[in-house]
């Protein structure tokens, strides 16, 4: 991966905003852990944004901390409690026996509170984990629902793209919604592009044959469902997908045409 290009794409700003999907964010986090340049860039973007939002604040709000701290729940380090010890005027032996009993009692008491505290914190952690899992599952379900809605839309034309010379087994579908100018590319049956290459989708009009790029299938490898949504404002008569150097090309490299298919006449 070209780090500079990745940084320049603007994805890191969106990452700090929280404007990416959870999946995309996780991907950026992975890159950030791999490349110190990416991390430094993210930190600087964050600092600049913090400065900007600080400037918007009416004042520094420092005085609120006392009020807030009073309302905190579950503060962990418990204050040490003094256990009142009654002085018993008794024979020395029984005094010793009493303090021994007290010691045992104290030990048991601390042991139990400690156990409880451990149980509490593990329950808290488990809760957090569950919340996470539910949130993830919910996101998956929403994604699937969205996809289904796209395919079922009555304005959608399905175009099947068959494998060409370089990849006879490849296959892809375009779900084209001409009223919304959207094309959804289902590319699950395309082979993973080699390093430094990217699939580019073309809208074609015949007579004369004119290809117009409608976009790249970016982050192909990491995209789980391999469905990509692109803008298509063209009066497309056919769609094709070629393999191009990273960043895409001005015109399609015809020797690297993977799949092609024509739109059925209405």
């Amino acid at each position: 991966m070209d780090i500079q290009e990745y940084i320049n794409s603007g994805i890191l700003e969106l990452y700090v905003y929280g404007a990416l999907s959870e999946k995309e964010s996780r991907e950026v986090t992975r890159e950030l852990k791999k490349y110190p340049e990416v991390k430094a860039e993210v930190e600087e973007i964050e600092e600049a944004l913090m400065m900007l939002s600080k400037a918007v604040a009416p004042n520094n709000a420092e005085h609120l901390i006392t009020t807030i701290k009073e309302k905190l729940t579950n503060v962990s380090p418990t204050p040490t409690r003094k256990i009142p010890v009654k002085r018993i005027n008794w024979v020395t032996y029984s005094g010793w026996a009493a303090s021994l009993l007290l010691l045992i009692g104290l030990f048991l008491f601390f042991n139990r509170t400690n156990n409880l505290r451990n149980q509490l914190s593990s329950a808290r952690a488990q809760n957090a984990q569950m919340e996470q899992q539910i949130a993830d599952a919910r996101e998956d379900a929403t994604n699937a629902k969205e996809l289904l809605a796209v395919i079922r839309d009555k304005n959608v034309t399905r175009v099947q793209l068959a494998g060409q010379e370089v990849a006879p087994n490849a296959y892809a579908s375009v779900y084209w919604n001409a009223t919304e100018n959207k094309a959804y590319i289902d590319a699950a049956e395309l082979p993973t592009p080699p390093r430094g290459k990217v699939y580019q989708v073309w809208s074609l009009t015949m007579q004369p044959l004119t290809p117009t790029s409608i976009g790249l299938l970016e982050d192909f490898e990491t995209d789980d469902n391999k469905v990509f949504s692109l803008e298509n404002v063209n009066q497309s008569e056919a769609f094709g997908i070629t393999l191009e150097p990273e960043g895409g090309s001005e015109t399609p490299t015809m020797e690297q045409l993977y799949v092609l298919g024509t739109v059925a006449a209405p």
């Binding site: 905003y17 950026v28 944004l49 400065m51 918007v56 604040a57 520094n60 729940t73 976009g215």
Partner: protein, 176 residues
Amino acid sequence: MQQDALIAELQNGNPRAFERIYQLYSESTYGIIYSIIKDEKIAEEVLQDVFLKIWDKAPTYNSDKGRFFTWVLNIARNASIDKIRSKGFKNSQQNLKADNFVNILEDKTSFAESVDSIGLKKYIDKLKPVCKKLIDYLFFRGYTQKETSEELDMPLGTVKTRNRMCIEQLRKIVIK
């Protein structure tokens, strides 16, 4: 690394870590809240709620999913949006003079020492209208890339690259 340790301490329920987090993040969080609420008193209330939430929910923060700042940002925006949608708020708010962060900054006369106010004002003056919108939607209001692209009628990729240019100018001014 220090930052990670601080967040881990916060997640363990250490009140001193919480205090430090408050020092680091309260002012920018307040800015976000104020840009949505536009009323100082109510924004202060929301700020308190937000930090109580940060304390309670700290164990659910997962660094794989994004920056801690982003996590705080989301809590702040959601709490502010809930507030302005609430019944009591709608009735009490008639005089909303400022529209977004740009107007707030233009009207503002006193700044914290750490802020290069002259630089920022110049930045705002020179900022292209499209940048004002992008930063307002994406940063202050928390729109997704897709929502922003629909709202501004701009392709997804353009949102990404345009916004980067807007933020680069900001960085030149505020990062020393």
